[in-house]
Symmetry: C2
Subunit: 215 residues, 2 copies
DNA sequence: GCGCTGCTTGACCATTTGGTCAAAATGAAC
DNA sequence: GTTCATTTTGACCAAATGGTCAAGCAGCGC
């Protein structure tokens, strides 16, 4: 994604102290607003207000609403896919998947906005990150699918379609972030309690890992 | 939900032929538009145009955008929860869950808009159906959780938290509708092919059912 | 202090869009 | 065909919102 990191545009202008601070503040606020309201529902004004800034001032740093949105998305994407990219072909399959699933559940608990941001983007047809999905993500998934397929060949996992396994893991883990309102409504106060996510992790791991253990 | 079915308001006015036709056309169009654009993104104009109607004419049948949205949501809810409500305590657990999961995957394939509509509503905090979630859905889930717990007690299923099992099933099955764009981008043309959903069903069933089979 | 560059903003504009209304068209009953 | 209720619409309004701009302000090197 992007050229280097979060530069405004071309020609690596050094990006002053105040710029760095303000751009970060904007992106942080934008993540929350976009995650809870979606792209259409979010307003520049709300993002601006949330970081104590006027609308024109915010537009001094980003040229449009779409621009902010895109950069938040790209920035969050790396972080979000980190644990997936880190899946190690040489580790023990079940342990490695346990690690990955746990990591994703922790992310869903700690940063649900990131998950919601993507969910919303994809739900509406991925207008902004469609290209990324078809190239980078596709390549990455293809690679990891190969790893899983190898594990299956080696008899270290039950025979399972790697792609659907990946989708199942994504679906279950992200569900806890994206649908937290529903979960909270259904199970009530327990959902907020400290041990809740550990309990969720245990259940999800139990289902998926036992579902794919060699037999 | 709602008083009887889809009456405009109070006092069961018989609802003329033309009303019946038009209301249905509007609700059908609205489902699609709301599902793809979300509540904020949808416009009355688009819904109206899509069923060959003028905006004021549409507002003759429904008093506001919110009103249409709410009725589409309520109408689809019943249909969506049907298979869940139909889970039979007396059937064989593994077979019954296989039936349910399969039914949900079929729905995700045939009517992805319904799934997307809910996903969007919940993602944005369930402003409209929050009450429903906390009462009816909560009660229903509680009831079915009891069934699963009983199955576990009887040794017919591996020990698993009923709620998390339900969430896992919802997450995986609905993922195929809500994130279809991502799936298509990642695995390419295969996603459209006829056998794809059967393959998905097989993989999901394999993981979940083997994950909960008594051992 | 001076001047210059970079940062900030009030005022403003254009577009979109939910919703209203009075008047016209249509259909049904007789 | 006349009459009345139902249905349809063009024209319109008000609010929200993305985005612009010229002018003001602030920091900083000298």
């Amino acid at each position: 994604m992007a050229s280097t990191k979060t530069r405004p545009a071309k020609q690596a202008k050094p990006l002053s102290r105040i710029q760095e601070v303000n751009r970060k503040a904007i992106l942080d606020a934008a993540l929350e607003v976009f995650a809870t309201s979606g792209f259409r529902g979010a307003t520049i004004d709300e993002i601006a207000t949330r970081c104590g800034m006027s609308k024109p001032n915010l537009l001094y740093y980003f040229k449009s609403k779409r621009d902010i949105y895109q950069q938040v998305l790209e920035q969050t994407l790396e972080e979000w896919l980190g644990p997936f990219a880190a899946i190690d072909p040489n580790a023990d399959p079940v342990e490695e998947l346990r690690r990955y699933i746990t990591a994703k559940l922790v992310m869903s608990e700690k940063r649900p906005e990131a998950s919601k941001l993507f969910a919303n983007e994809i739900l509406h047809g991925a207008p902004v990150i469609h290209g990324f999905l078809e190239t980078h993500l596709r390549q990455l998934v293809h690679e990891k699918a190969g790893v899983i397929r190898q594990w299956v060949s080696d008899g270290k996992l039950a025979p399972i379609d790697p792609y659907h396994l990946i989708f199942t893991i994504w679906a279950t883990t992200q569900h806890y972030a994206d649908f937290d309102v529903q979960i909270r409504a259904v199970i009530g106060s327990q959902a907020g309690k400290p041990g809740f996510y550990e309990q969720a992790a245990q259940a999800v791991l139990s289902i998926i890992l036992n579902g794919i253990r060699p037999r």
